[in-house]
Symmetry: C2
Subunit: 372 residues, 2 copies
DNA sequence: AAACAGATCCAAAGCGCTTTGAATGGCGCG
DNA sequence: CGCGCCATTCAAAGCGCTTTGGATCTGTTT
């Protein structure tokens, strides 16, 4: 990573000694508590308490203080508050950039949109950290020991995610978006029921007469992908169908990968008559592969996709393009935020979690198995 | 917006008076400067200076301090640093969620990935604020008066964006990702040369013999969309072609919209033989419309798209799917971050800006105009 | 009338860091 | 030897807020 600036940075920032840089002191012009209390002829204590809703201040005084604060545009300095309260009022989101987590990207924007809504409403800030590779563990240690955040959202959990025991050891409150199958210690999570969603998708295809059913999945060390596969396989086996390994694909959920995986399956001697796809973007690639092969969705090959209900990738207007198992990732963001905040403010309570059920939306991409 | 928690929040957070909540004091267990200096038998001054790279400390002492800090896992408390330095070491990104800005979403994840890289390297934090509607102005005033951030990135600028004069008035350093055509005051920005990109796309299509050239654009109150249209129109007019209003579409850049716009154009008596599309996602919709109409890209209708080079939406592996004007939004994120940091640390310098040129990538979606 | 309780307010002590201004000790120099 | 000069180090004063532990003043109880 090249640094093009004049200063002598290596990976880690080395502090404020920068003799050639003149920094204007930020916020030095803003009104502070002392000034406001002098204007009001009150003590800082009373003004602070009035604004923070403490009961031991007369209601008349409180109103006077609130008016003055508004009039003079007083906002408590956030750094001072953090220091005095010993809390940062900040939630951390750590986004790893390794290829293994790349899938976080498309859903990420919507998730934080949901979470951010709740943070604003509850007075929390959101801090994003992009971490390029292995040193993710150091990041969490740092966040803890510097008091940067009061809690953390864990994105894209793996089957046995090392972050979970680490955060427990650090005693840093956290909520996982998803779950980690191989971890039995209780912790907070918000997840969609991936297994039941894909099981229902499988059952639906079977009810349409399909037996040769494919899966175009995400990388299966990701927990959600593992669960989806298990759900689909359960549906097949319940119907007496042995899953065909040639029909099971796992890879990054990009348009290209969806396309290539579908194309490869179509090249088999007996290609599947239906596929379940783990993401909307991959499903677009699947559709392209079908188009190229001169096949029509529903008529020739049925397609069901998982739809995260992303704001910029809608599955049709009134009529859904794809039959889909749908669950709003933005809603998951909201719930995760609420869970984390309540866990931060009530740390002794037992870890909560929330399992969301996905809806099965019938669209135009599924139909009865074609007659041969 | 419903709040489901027990506390009495309305829109704005009302402070820490929550008698029924027991909050564990965060970070209280971490090593602090005083403890470290006592262990070392040095003053806090010397330890602080040693760690921050000040020259007036003996090299032997500095090493001793650094070792001890590492050994005891000392990290300066961030709230205390903010307070003492009068700077927050934080960059704010304010994301409005109104439909008018929805387009920010898909590119947003990649942009902050790029910017975040640079923030980490330079010791800055990234703070994200999701703002649901009109009160965006209040957010900026707050950020300023609370000292929450040292600078701001402005996303998705409009033609005459009110945020720019506001931030100038607030004296809050900022960099615009994009530009605002109607504002003449100088300010910092990083933008791709949208006009020249679309002009070249137009010229390329004309060189292939196309005359009936369509545009499926973003919403044209967004500055970038306006520039793209102007660029394409310039190319047409230079070739003596009068732009046909029926061929010019502006809307949100979703897959659906791309599909609908293309479908509408194909329904015209004389449909265009080529279209330029403002986003990759919309181009996927265009392709779908062509497929549905039994038309082949390149052979029947040529398509050029703008490609933001998103990590999760690659334009093909080795062979590009679409002919495209490509510019990496992640790279724009890196540059914006660098510009902002240098502007924060050197506030007296004149506003800088950076204009990136997009590459024209020839893919499989363009070909000579079909013979009638 | 004395004692008490409650309501309201305040001075001052932190929170953990940076930074100012001064002190200390070693050194060369006239 | 006495002086000034570096190179190091330190004590103490903030930064702007919260919060502890009274203080003051009312009204109420015995």
């Amino acid at each position: 990573m090249q640094v093009q600036r004049g200063m002598d940075f290596d990976q880690t920032y080395k502090g404020p000694y920068c003799p050639h840089i003149q920094i204007a002191l930020a916020g030095s012009n803003a009104m502070n508590l002392k000034q406001l209390s002098e204007i009001l002829g009150l003590s800082q204590t009373t003004v602070s308490r009035a604004l923070n809703g403490y009961p031991e201040v007369a209601e008349r005084t409180r109103l006077r203080v609130q008016h003055a604060a508004q009039k003079h545009n007083y906002q408590p300095n956030i750094g001072a508050q953090r220091l005095a309260r010993g809390r940062s009022m900040t939630i951390g989101h750590v986004i790893p950039l390794s290829t293994q987590h790349e899938m976080v990207n498309p859903v990420f924007a919507d998730f934080i949109a949901g979470a951010g809504e709740r943070y604003s409403a509850c007075g929390y800030d959101m801090k994003l950290t992009i971490v390029d590779d292995q040193n993710e563990e150091d990041i969490y240690r740092d966040l803890k020991s510097r008091g940067s955040v009061d809690g953390i959202i864990v994105h894209g959990p793996l089957m046995n995610d090392p972050r979970i025991p680490l955060l427990q050891e650090l005693d840093l409150p956290f909520v996982v978006h998803g779950r980690a199958s191989d971890i039995e210690m209780p912790y907070c999570w918000v997840d969609v029921n991936n297994a039941s969603a894909f099981q229902r998708a499988g059952e639906f295809l079977i009810s349409l007469g399909h037996r040769r059913i494919g899966l175009i999945n995400g990388l299966e060390h990701m927990d959600f992908a593992h669960r989806r596969r298990a759900g689909l396989v359960a549906a097949l086996e319940a119907a007496g169908v042995t899953p065909n390994p040639d029909y099971l694909h796992a890879g990054e959920m990009t348009e290209i990968n969806g396309h290539n995986a579908m194309k490869a399956m179509l090249a088999l001697d007996t290609p599947p008559t239906a596929v379940v796809v783990a993401s909307f973007i991959a499903a677009l690639g699947v559709r392209r592969a079908l188009d190229e092969a001169g096949l029509r969705m529903a008529r020739d090959v049925s397609v069901i996709t998982f739809d995260d209900d992303l704001s910029y990738l809608r599955n049709g207007d009134s009529i859904p393009i794809f039959t889909a198992t749908r669950s709003s990732v933005r809603q998951a963001g909201r719930l995760s935020a609420d869970l984390l905040i309540s866990h931060i403010e009530n740390p002794t309570a037992a870890p909560e979690h929330k399992l969301l059920e996905a809806d099965l939306i019938i669209g135009n991409s599924t139909g009865p198995v074609p007659q041969e």
